[in-house]
């Protein structure tokens, strides 16, 4: 019979600690509740006219705990007014809130932020002012789109609305087989350009082509500001 095992308090403490972690225990224990984190923040619509609302939606990675999850909401600009927080009810994974916007005289972008614990999500809300806007490029049409090389075809520029003053739309082609019109802007000749006169929303122009020996397809591209539209031309021998 051996000597009784004697452990000093320090050693005993260590043994207990190790067992708690690694020795296993058949007693069922309640799972540690997983805290739902913030997954997404979305805005619908993301662009609104000043004075009209948008709806924000916060989505968690899982159901909110029994106490619910209070998500803090903030806006970077006074143009968008948000509630200070939105509560995701217990068991739910999302909640919505209303963003009211103020009447402003300039387009303004506000960053809407949602914060839950250390999780932060941002979304941009663009608030459009009720101010006159110049029309943008809607379409470039080419008719007929297939011509025999050496013949003419006609392009049509369509704007989203009447031009206030003459607007110049830039043209270019991926092929040297066509000749595009030019504009005179303040006595300066601008190549590959078509004017849309003030008060009108369309303009037509002639595209001159060259003879080809094979079927050839290429684009004509119209550009106005950030808007780009393309039309295709097929030249036949």
């Amino acid at each position: 019979m051996g000597a009784p095992l004697r452990l000093c308090p320090v050693v005993l403490l260590v043994v207990i600690s190790i067992c708690a972690v690694a020795c296993g225990d058949d007693t069922p224990t309640a799972p540690t509740p997983q805290t739902a984190a913030l997954s997404q923040l979305s805005l619908t619509p993301a662009t609104v006219n000043a004075g009209t609302p948008s709806e924000g939606l916060v989505i968690l990675t899982g159901p909110a705990p029994a106490t619910g999850a209070a998500v803090r909401i903030s806006s970077s600009d006074g143009v968008a007014v948000v509630p200070t927080s939105v509560m995701v009810p217990a068991g739910a994974a999302s909640a919505s809130f209303t963003i009211t916007t103020r009447l402003v005289a300039a387009d303004t972008t506000a960053t809407i932020s949602a914060l839950l614990s250390a999780d932060k999500r941002d979304a941009l809300l663009r608030v459009m002012a009720p101010i006159p806007r110049p029309p943008t490029l809607q379409a470039l049409e080419i008719e007929p789109a297939t011509v025999k090389g050496g013949q003419f075809t006609v392009g049509t520029i369509r704007l989203t609305g009447p031009a206030i003053t003459t607007i110049y739309v830039t043209l270019r082609s991926s092929s040297m087989l066509v000749t595009l019109p030019s504009c005179v802007v303040s006595t300066t000749l601008v190549p590959s350009c078509v004017p849309v006169q003030g008060g009108t929303s369309t303009a037509t122009f002639t595209i001159t082509t060259r003879p080809v020996t094979l079927d050839t397809v290429f684009d004509v591209v119209a550009t106005l500001g950030d808007e780009v539209r393309a039309g295709q031309i097929r030249l036949t021998p």
């Binding site: 600009d77 006074g78 143009v79 103020r102 009447l103 402003v104 005289a105 300039a106 387009d107 303004t108 972008t109 002012a129 009720p130 101010i131």
Partner: protein, 208 residues
């Protein structure tokens, strides 16, 4: 208003009149009914009656009480009017103005909204004009007047670049009484602009 009301036998409701008098400021009143240990409350808002109100004396808020250059201003009172900063951070500028001091906010890298609210303790007044300034941009602004929380007028405009000079904005509806005015400026600081664009207001002319 009667102190008690009898609901006839077999009925579930009864009506009563509430007599009101003209008020100088918008006033919210709680009407309470109590029966059988149950209390119900309804609110009644007494609005300012604009009929008979006449403008009298002009006052100009020139921000002469601002002493510390670039100190944050959340509220400022002058001539019985209060100017409250709604958003964002407004500062008093004593080294410039029309004449100085004036109230300014700045923006960089995009459009920022700056808004102030003008009131007179709830009493009605008339909005005449204000001077506005931007360093290097056009000046989009909205002025909204309300009376008893009801919209009275809205004025929206985009002024051209004044290149750092003040310009006067006059009310298009100077005869409409209000009890609150919001001046909302959009400071369209270019995103390509490396510095900040100051924008501000001075000489708010009101009548009461």
């Amino acid at each position: 208003m009667p102190s008690t009301l009898t609901i006839p036998a077999g009925a579930t409701s009864a009506t009563f009149d509430v007599a009101t008098t003209r008020v100088a400021v918008t006033t919210d009143i709680a009407i309470t009914a109590q029966a059988g240990g149950v209390t119900q409350t309804a609110s009644l808002r007494l609005r300012i009656d604009p009929a008979g109100l006449r403008p009298s004396t002009n006052y100009t808020i020139g921000f002469s009480g601002l002493r510390d250059n670039r100190a944050a201003v959340s509220t400022y009172s002058e001539s019985g009017f209060t100017v409250s900063a709604v958003s964002p951070e407004w500062v008093g500028i004593t080294t410039f103005g029309n004449p100085g001091p004036f109230l300014q906010f700045s923006a960089s890298g995009g459009t920022v909204t700056g808004e102030v609210r003008i009131s007179s303790g709830g009493a009605p007044f008339w909005f005449r004009s204000f001077d506005v300034y931007s360093s290097v941009t056009r000046i989009p602004y909205v002025v909204e007047g309300s009376l008893s929380a009801e919209p009275a007028f809205t004025q929206l405009e985009v002024l051209g670049n004044t290149f750092g000079n003040f310009v006067r904005v006059s009310s298009r509806t100077p005869d409409l009484p209000v009890d609150a005015v919001l001046i909302r400026l959009s400071n369209p600081a270019p995103t390509t602009f490396s510095g900040t664009n100051p924008m501000g207001i001075d000489n708010i002319v009101l009548n009461r």
